[in-house]
């Protein structure tokens, strides 16, 4: 979790810091599970429900399955959507939906790798064989 005070100022500073350091320090990124949760539920789940009528809760897969899926970065085998998971976490994607999506708007400036790490941790920590299985609600 971030150590800064929960105010916009601190938050923006942290965001700036990450964008400067960039992906080169990806391994050092401290994931924020809470942020991952918000993005997962507001963006991923919302879209899944719209497109397919059902959601995919983190607890639908095991930790190993989530890691394999996210590491492979293969979003959808059908070819109807963008094939990359990362695509949906990128700033460009967030920018494209920011007007109708609060989470995309709120995390607009967040570095790609930071958000990726956040969502990654939320999914894996919420996997069905984890200690804290998570639903979409």
């Amino acid at each position: 979790m971030g150590s800064s005070k929960p105010f916009l100022a601190g938050f923006t500073l942290a965001a700036l810091l990450f964008s400067v350091i960039g992906d080169a320090f990806a391994a050092d990124i401290k994931a924020n599970k809470k942020r991952g949760q918000v993005y997962y539920r507001m963006v991923c789940t919302a879209c899944h429900v719209d497109m397919t009528g059902s959601s995919i809760p983190p607890s639908g897969f095991t930790m190993a399955e989530w890691r394999a899926y996210l590491d492979a970065d293969k979003h959808d085998a059908s070819g109807r959507t963008n094939p990359s998971v990362r695509y949906y976490l990128q700033q460009t994607y967030r920018e494209s939906i920011k007007d109708e999506n609060k989470a995309a708007k709120k995390f607009l400036k967040l570095p790609n790798e930071q958000l990726y790490a956040d969502v990654y941790q939320f999914a894996v920590n919420g996997a069905k064989d984890s200690d804290t299985p998570a639903t979409c609600n």
């Binding site: 005070k5 929960p6 095991t62 609060k102 200690d131």
Partner: protein, 746 residues
Amino acid sequence: MKPDPHKQVAPSGLSRRGFLTLCAGAGAGAAMPWRSFQAAERQQQVPAHSWSRGEVIPSTCNMCVNRCGIKCHVVDGVLEKIDGDSRNPKTAGGTCAKGQAGIMALYDPDRITHPLIRAGKRGEGKWRRASWEEAFEYTADKIDKIIEKHGPEGLLFSSCTDLTEVFFIKFGKYLGTPNFARHATLCLASRNVGYFATMGGVPDADLVNAKYILMFGANRMESFELPHNRDLITGLQNGARLVVVDPRMTVTASKGEWLPIRPRTDMALTLALMHVLIKEDLYDREFVASVTTGFDELKAHVAPYTPEWAEQETGISARTIVKMAREMAAAAPAVVVYPGRRSSWYTNDAQFRRTLPMLMALLGAFDTRGASFFNAGKVKLGSFDWELEPVEVAPRFDGFDEENFPLAHHEDGGYINLRDNILNGTGKNPVKGWMLYKQNTLASVADSAKTLRMMETMDFICAIDIQPSQTAWMADIILPETLYLERLDPLWTPAGTTKYVGIRQPVVKPQGEAKTLLEILQGLGAALDKRREFETPFADVYNFTMEDYLDAQLKKLPVDRVTLMKDGLWIPPGQGLKLGEYRNGNKQFKTPSGKIEFVSERFRRNGYDPLPVYEPVVEEPGRQRLVTGRYAWFTHASNQNNIWLNSLHPENEVWINPDLAKEKKIEDGEYVKVRSPVGEIRIMAYVTPRIRKDTVFITHGFGTNSAGQNTLYGKGGADQALMQDRADTISNNQALHETFVEIVKL
């Protein structure tokens, strides 16, 4: 008749009608500060009660957490009678004494109906009446100062389960505090953790069709959990055997066979039962092979736990244990090993609770008729479109986190370690402000003297409540909330065999100036917005009405709010529960292996014993173990001051076995002193063979420090004044039955 408000608010011969008119008089003339601002505007006449007049409004009870369906008979704006709603699938028209006494909670002369700001020292009972505007500014000022000095993590938010609780917790989140404490760690957290590790959740029970029901301490006939209390009676009528393991003979135990176990040895009994089932080859081989893991390890593990060994521990004869195991096996799979609810007993509670689903699994008593089962879930309500909460928050101040309690639910907090961290200054940061919402910590957390000391360290305490509870009495400001009969609440969808949506709606206008929680938070939020810039301004967060909230919940359902308010509940078509899906492998348990785990992977990888290891009991010679529990007419520590309910049981007593009473020369009905390492109380002795000699029982919610509770004040003794601060090591659930007390003749 001129009543003396100092003594008794309900003098003999006072009817509800007479009583309401009386309150106004008492308020005007009384010298007592508390009285002087109470009830002035509550002058009203209750007309003669007749069902030929008025209207009947369906709603949902809130006198405990069962949320029974009720029908409220209102005549000329006055609530005259509450009846059960016979269409309600859970409650089928019944109500309990508490539900019936909702009227008295509504018209309680001790109810707080306008904001009160402390005018004397804390707990002195001197208050001054404040306008809501002043109350909001005052509270916002205090919160602002604490944030200024300590950050939002200098605040603690405490609340108890309710449909509106989410609004209160959200308020804390938007403020940016990570520090919450909820009801679960006073109640059922250890059960949840034990069951979650073993089978991924807590199952429901088919008590109607069960042939053998084993309950550990669970007291469904006095501590209601609907529809289980009703189903249990039906099950007994259908010929079920009920065995209740409890050092005290509860009403539930009286309806079955009572096994007065030596306290804290319950795990010895469950381990020995498993021992017999395996040794005598009585377990369900097919079930064990198909849906469990770790049987071989379990077999080796329970080998030393023989019935003869368990007899030494539990006081239950080896013969009885063997007989029980055989009878359960004969009745299997129509056996319910009941999970229980309040499991805040011992420091090893999560491990003990684990043995219950293990025993259940050996019997194959799951996912079939007459056994335990996972129910079909709830009606899926739409979710309200909340503004986003801050995600960059400080860690909890008290170390109740993934690192120290990896399997616990961290948002529930835990009062025992939380309080120590505040008192010892060992937290990550100081906590100086305490916001309470219908939480009576002084009466519900072990060692109330210690809680008082914690309160002394606080710069600010704000209680949102309907009455001057023990805790609210010690606060700096009390914000009066509306009663459940005066407000619209978020919708209610229970998990059960029949799904439905229930509504709680106002049946009468609020008494005095009481506001709904949402209105209180809106006012407080506006006052805070003036002082500080928040990540999301409160004006943007709480800019909705309760009607908006309900409409969002109903978005995807074929019923609208107006219809629901008229009908009181909505039962969707397509009910039904399909059993056997876990047995045939179509569904998996939410455990790492997808099966019922005798050897818990979650426990193992977090450094806990993967199989429950029995710890021998350490007793204190010459002292008795103190246990607590419920009567059917009181809820937690919330309505002992209700005049109708209090009249059923004006003061609590300490239950003493006749042999102990004889040794101590204590007569029934005589006042005695009960002394523990942390406190002592004076209380009436109830000499009864319904309890073991090594155990004493005191029900809770009495011995109030609040002189504002006129009916209750001065009666009985507080169990929490005696209890030592212990907690389950895995779930952080407080452990209320770990204290030994001395009974002293006065």
